[in-house]
């Protein structure tokens, strides 16, 4: 176990070293991660001021600021690198090592997330406690946080494993990156980043609930904002867990089958 943590520690040290080499990226990544939810916030905030939609301006502001953080924390891009490395053969360097490749992706993901939160998180905390009346009172209820934190962790794992599956598609398809891009665009709608789930027509909401995307962004926000009762929250946590289990099984199958047919191109 000590040796395992030594390896993890070394990769963390190297990832931090790599990320800190490029200081401008820190600002760029933070801004990029916040840009789409901020545009949605501006739009829906104005709508909520002029024409009540079911969400008050307070709730709208809280929801989209929350989405920025949930999105940064749950965002995963490992599929991009995985697909790229499969397609050009660079994955070889991981395949010949006696250490699972997935750890490199996990570490890269967590380090870059810390960097992306470096600017927005202190700002959010500052505004939350300086202007508490601007936000929905629901987010100050401690029991909501007790359910929100596990939900956020499950959302993070779900997003990461789903992205891994899309990366593994490159074992079969040269167009894996394009399919991934389509999934990312669809995810903006289906996860509640562009339109809160509560404002969607019931049929659309029901249909999208059968996909995993809602459980990546919207569900943690719904739980923290008290849009789901305690029982509903527990049910949502259970759905998240089931999705994770299914997607891990799928990822494992894709990996095993993919390796069997892999031709290591470009070498």
């Amino acid at each position: 176990m000590r040796k395992f943590f030594q390896k993890i520690g070394r990769i963390y040290a190297m990832e931090w070293g790599r990320v800190l080499e490029y200081r401008i990226d820190v600002i760029a990544w933070s801004l990029a991660a916040a840009s789409i939810p901020l545009v949605s916030l501006a739009l829906w905030y104005n709508v909520s001021l002029q024409n009540p939609t079911g969400l008050s301006p307070q709730e709208t502001l809280t929801y989209f600021l929350l989405v920025i953080f949930i999105k940064i924390i749950t965002d995963a891009w490992n599929g991009f690198f995985t697909a790229w490395e499969i397609l050009n053969g660079d994955i070889v360097k991981y395949l010949i090592r006696p250490f699972p490749m997935i750890w490199n992706d996990i570490i890269n993901n967590t380090v870059e997330k810390c960097i992306k939160l470096l600017i927005p998180l202190p700002l959010f905390i500052f505004f939350l406690f300086s202007f508490p009346h601007t936000f929905s009172p629901q987010i100050f209820i401690p029991s909501h946080w007790l359910l929100f934190i596990p939900s956020l962790l499950l959302a993070l794992i779900l997003s990461f494993t789903l992205e891994t599956c899309f990366g593994f598609l490159a074992f079969w398809l040269e167009e894996a990156q394009q399919i991934r891009s389509f999934k990312n665009i669809f995810e903006l709608v289906a996860s509640g980043v562009l339109i809160p789930f509560i404002l969607m027509p019931p049929t659309v909401r029901t249909a999208l609930s059968f996909l995993p995307f809602r459980y990546i962004v919207s569900v943690p926000a719904e739980i923290l904002l008290g849009q789901a009762s305690f029982n509903q929250s527990i049910q949502l946590l259970l759905y998240q867990t089931v999705w994770i289990f299914l997607i891990i099984m799928l990822a494992y199958t894709l990996w095993q089958k993919g390796l069997q047919r892999y031709a290591v191109p470009g070498q």
Partner: protein, 328 residues
């Protein structure tokens, strides 16, 4: 010596999409895709003993790299079996991965944004090398590969030769028993090529490592490998020593003559085929079994200042083999 690599009836085929040229071809490809099966490795069998250094040569697309990929566990074969250190490579067991190393051209194990030293530290932890062993191994590699000048420089800023030496250091710092080198000197200048060759030789002798080397540079193979495996069209065309290859497949030698007085071309014709003629310097092509007799005759009949008998170069032999396709 024991067998460390054993290959039996190993084959690998790929399905390759055949696209018709032009716009119409692209549209046709949308509805009706045609695939062609390409056999990269065709039923090869081979045994390699512990501590052997074997050179794989062959033209592009012959199947050398595909064979190495299967032995590294990167590719699953279509049929046949292979064991490396008693492991089936494509099962990619941890103990197998810990004891072999693959260097494939410029496909880097190194982290581009960090100094070489960081990548070596990562290798230390991944391969669970004891700190004192790592220190002495690093010191040895630094001396043999002249790493000290660039050990702490970001990898992306290194020259091609420096990067290749860094790759070798990363591949060998944990002392693998089996080393698969695919074109380790490709793109390097002559000085660095020599350094790398010298290093491979020293490493093999010191650690009794088993090495398979593929290279387009026959100098690599000639200098390093006693055993040569020629692969062509996915099959083993020759397996044996370099000397035997030349003896078996070349039925002539060259006699190089320098005269202290000019000699007429016509006078030399009965002694062999004239490859190069100058009145004071001539090269003759003579049948291998006649070489000694002809040389003795030339020495007695002509004003010979100097005489030497050359074997044809490995390059020439291999070129002849690949172009004439007349080998056994």
């Amino acid at each position: 010596m024991s067998v460390i690599i054993n290959i039996k009836d190993l084959s690998k085929s790929y399905q390759v999409h055949q696209k018709e040229p032009g716009f119409i071809g692209s549209i046709q490809g949308l509805f009706n895709r045609r695939y062609k099966t390409i056999t990269a490795v065709d039923n090869i069998s081979l045994s390699i003993q512990t501590g052997e250094l074997v050179g794989f040569i062959g033209p592009n697309g012959a199947g050398k790299t595909t064979t190495l990929k299967m032995l590294s566990g990167l590719l699953y074969p279509t049929s046949g079996t292979a064991t490396v250190m008693d492991y089936t490579p494509w099962q990619r067991k941890r103990d197998f991965l810990k004891n072999f190393s693959l260097v494939m051209g410029q496909k880097a194990q190194l982290w581009w944004d960090l100094p070489l030293y960081d990548s070596l530290l990562l290798q230390r932890d991944i391969y669970e090398i004891d700190k004192s062993v790592f220190r002495s191994s690093l010191q040895e590699l630094t001396e043999l590969l002249d790493l000290d000048k660039f050990l702490k420089v970001q990898v992306r800023k290194l020259s091609l030769g420096q990067r290749m030496r860094g790759e070798l250091a990363a591949a060998l710092v944990y002392h693998p028993q089996v080393l698969l080198l695919d074109e380790p000197t490709i793109g390097l200048d002559i000085v660095v090529q020599k350094k790398v060759r010298k290093f491979i030789k020293q490493y093999q002798q010191k650690y009794n490592a088993t090495i398979i080397l593929t290279s387009h540079y026959l100098d690599d193979v000639r200098e390093l490998a006693r055993r040569l495996v020629i692969i062509d069209h996915g099959r083993i065309a020759y397996d044996g020593s370099t000397e035997n290859l030349i003896k078996q497949h070349v039925d002539h030698r060259r006699i190089v003559l320098t005269f202290f007085q000019p000699v007429a071309k016509t006078a030399l014709l009965p002694y062999g085929q004239i490859i190069k003629y100058q009145p004071l310097h001539t090269i003759l092509h003579v049948p291998r079994n006649q070489t000694t007799k002809r040389a003795a005759q030339l020495l007695t009949k002509f004003p010979v200042e100097d005489i030497s008998i050359d074997e044809p170069s490995l390059e020439n032999v291999v070129r002849e083999l690949f172009t004439n396709q007349n080998y056994a």
